[in-house]
């Protein structure tokens, strides 16, 4: 019935066999159990709710959001900032895998790259839903529009994010395609791109930080620590997300890796989270010890100001979650395949989502540049749109993971290296 066993791929042009591979891959990635279909249906439904909310926002104007001239960026740009971190962090396992030649990591690397792809798509969507005139999107296309490069940092962000997407699509596509053909991947075609993606991962988050920290009129963002803090927190959120995804894949029996790579990820998280918290302390000290105008946003964020305290619960939840998550990661049992590890990952993911989003973007606008205090909390439409973006991201990720699992599982299982049981390091 199936025509999958086509002619010898060596004799076929890649122009034919690569699309064929993609088609078959998509076909096989949409095969699964009833639970899988239920999951996919749920994600599709939420995505559609988001698409509908966005369509209403476009038709009726952005008055549908709770943003104002004072707080002119809100949940969308917050979510964008977090997703850039997720995308950058997703590739962080590439460093141990290739720089230190850790072969066990290779099976995890491709998962990280898939997460990076889904996260970049979510970034792009988060920006698209934030612009008032999506119909004028073509004004941003170099050549036919007017691309204000290199002066506008936003144009840099457009370049690095799209470049990052292409690099990762190439790496994932090439590695899977070669496995599908039953060939050994030729390092010339992917190792340079892997190294490029490492530098590129750092660049996407640095440039995103520069979007904010280059603005002299916003003292809360105008700090040289912003880019390093973004990177440190990305090296927590990325690996934490990968750990959760790997756990789900193992529990559902789709795809399993050795326990070794996960321990490397936890070591990365431990260091990065401590560095992140240290920088947060340094930031808080500088703001509050100096005082003055620089501290007014921080005052509002942490303690409320002039009777307004909308962000106070968000920020303290974030700090509590980050501290609890960090403490849990330092427990010996985090090195095992334990519940502690899962809880720790969830804590830091939620903590960082707040810290980088509602805890960073929104207070940049409160008080406003004329020191008006106008508070912001997202509208229902904004929540629906963001839920839709996440659902769509998960939809893409599920399909990619399914595809990776299918391609890898079809191969003879590679010989496992012996791993010490217990894993009671640290």
């Amino acid at each position: 019935m199936s025509s999958i066993s086509a002619s010898d791929p060596d004799q076929e042009s890649h122009f034919i066999s690569y699309p064929t591979f993609l088609g078959r891959a998509l076909w096989s990635a949409t095969e699964g159990s009833l639970a899988f279909y239920a999951w996919m249906t749920l994600l599709t439904a939420i995505s559609l709710v988001g698409a509908n909310a966005w369509a209403h926002q476009v038709a009726e104007g952005m008055i549908q959001t709770n943003m104002t001239d004072q707080v002119s960026w809100g949940l969308y740009i917050s979510n964008f900032t977090f997703c850039v971190g997720l995308a950058a962090g997703g590739v962080m396992m590439v460093i141990p895998a290739y720089l230190y030649d850790d072969h066990q990591m290779h099976k995890v690397v491709i998962i990280g790259e898939a997460i990076a792809i889904a996260a970049i798509v979510m970034c792009t969507l988060s920006v698209v839903v934030d612009i008032g005139r999506p119909d004028r999107f073509w004004h941003m296309i170099p050549g036919i529009g007017k691309f204000n490069w290199p002066i506008s940092m936003l144009t840099w962000d457009i370049i690095v994010l799209n470049g990052y997407l292409l690099i990762n699509l190439h790496i994932v596509g090439y590695l899977l395609y070669m496995r599908y053909l039953g060939r050994t991947p030729n390092p010339v075609w992917y190792v340079p791109f892997v190294f490029l993606s490492i530098f590129w991962a750092i660049s996407i988050h640095t440039v995103t930080a520069f979007l904010y920290c280059g603005l002299g009129g916003r003292p809360f963002w105008n700090t040289a620590l912003l880019a390093p803090r973004f990177l440190a927190s990305a090296f927590v959120s990325g690996p934490a997300f990968i750990l959760l995804v790997m756990r789900i894949l193992r529990v559902t029996g789709c795809y399993a890796a050795d326990p070794g790579p996960a321990r490397t990820l936890i070591q990365i998280i431990r260091v990065a989270m401590v560095v992140n918290l240290l920088m947060l302390v340094s930031e808080i000290f500088t703001l509050f010890y100096t005082g003055g105008a620089h501290a007014s946003s921080a005052h509002y964020l942490f303690f409320g100001s002039h009777g307004h305290d909308g962000l106070v619960p968000w920020m303290w939840s974030s700090i509590a979650l980050n501290l609890i998550g960090t403490a849990l990661f330092f427990l010996p049992s985090a090195m095992d395949r334990s519940l502690v590890r899962v809880v720790a990952c969830v804590c830091v993911l939620v903590g960082i989502w707040i810290e980088k989003g509602m805890g960073l973007i929104v207070p940049g606008f409160i008080p406003s540049t004329l020191h008006e205090i106008v508070e912001y909390s997202p509208s229902l439409i904004e929540w629906k749109v963001v839920a839709g973006i996440w659902a769509f991201g998960f939809l893409l990720l599920t399909i990619m993971l399914k595809l990776i699992a299918n391609v890898f599982n079809a191969q003879p299982v590679p010989e496992r290296t012996t791993v010490a049981t217990g894993g009671g390091r640290g």
């Binding site: 066993s5 209403h56 008032g132 999107f137 004004h139 691309f147 204000n148 039953g182 391609v407």
Partner: protein, 311 residues
């Protein structure tokens, strides 16, 4: 699953045609649901004509292009607002650099400038929009944190002074730098303008401005036909489309025709002084040379073309 097939790595599914039918059915259903979910966009698409969608950047429009664009915008104003308007394309006067100054010893916070701006520039009535904000400040400080923009009651209060803030038409405008599509730029007479038909509405300029000078059209502006100011210019007070940024243009549709800004004309105290700084005999030049002058947030290096002075 795949063992019987030699050259492939992907699992093979039996019962191909039935599954293909089911999957095709679901895909069709999904596509239909997607189309239904984004159907409100059809409403929005109706409001954008092909000519508007394809319109080039202001600086790339030829004289004929501009004529066509302006005719279209005038027809739009008639259709959507029931108003007969004239939209001109006022260009800078050579040898002119406009500068504004406000006498803080005289301003009494009556807010007439705010109101005049609202009417002159065809601002949205329901949000009571204006390019000017007046801050009521306690005497003895220049710290904006001590001020209030929402003051009510009689003015002036004995222990207060009043600081009107609008676009400072900076010589180093951060808003222009950050725009990803060059929809905003500084013209030769110093006025920072926006091409409302090119702006994509990302609001990066609104985040970059240290003076809260920019406004976003969160909704389609609502102006009754008899209140529309028909005397308009492409780069200034024509009724703005939804979803784009707008800002103070020193009323270029007036000042480039030799008139004074609406906020100045409305001011009952005579606190406002406007003029061409390149003219050595101008009043504004004398004030800047002889008075004590204060520049708002001078430390940010934005080099405003807007000054505050004291008697």
């Amino acid at each position: 699953m795949t063992s019987k097939h030699d050259s492939t790595a992907l699992p093979v599914i039996n019962n191909f045609s039935r599954r293909a039918a089911v999957k095709g059915g679901f895909a069709t259903l999904g596509a239909a649901a997607f189309v239904a979910s984004i159907s409100p966009l059809r409403q929005a698409a109706k409001q954008t004509t092909a000519a508007e969608f394809m319109q080039s950047h202001y600086t790339e429009l030829s004289a004929e292009d501009k004529q066509a664009v302006i005719a279209r915008l005038e027809a739009d104003a008639k259709e959507n607002y029931g108003a007969d308007v004239t939209i001109a394309d006022d260009r800078p006067i050579p040898g002119t650099k406009f500068v504004y100054a406000i006498n803080l010893s005289v301003c009494n916070g009556n807010g007439k400038c705010v109101e005049a701006c609202h009417k002159e520039n065809n601002h949205d009535r329901s949000t009571n929009q204006s390019y000017i904000r007046v801050i009521e400040m306690p005497k003895g400080t220049m710290d904006l944190e001590q001020g209030s923009t929402t003051y009510t009651g009689t003015v002036p209060q004995p222990d207060k002074f009043y600081l009107p803030v609008q676009c400072q038409q900076c010589d180093e405008p951060p808003c222009v730098d950050v725009c990803p599509v060059q929809a905003t730029w500084k013209e030769e007479d110093g006025i920072v303008v926006v091409d409302y038909n090119w702006c994509i509405g990302c609001r990066y300029c609104e985040a970059a401005c240290p003076y809260h000078a920019r406004r976003f059209n969160w909704k389609k502006p609502d102006v009754p036909a008899d209140e529309v100011n028909p005397d308009q210019s492409y780069l200034s007070n024509r009724i703005r489309p939804v979803g784009v940024i707008e800002k103070c243009t020193y009323c270029l549709h007036r000042t480039r025709r030799g008139k004074l800004p609406a906020c100045l004309e409305a001011c009952p105290t005579g606190a406002r002084v406007f003029g061409n700084i390149l003219d050595p005999d101008s009043n504004i030049r004398w004030i800047l040379e002889n008075k004590r002058v204060y520049i708002l947030k001078e430390e940010l290096g934005t080099k405003p073309a807007f000054f505050y002075f004291f008697d």
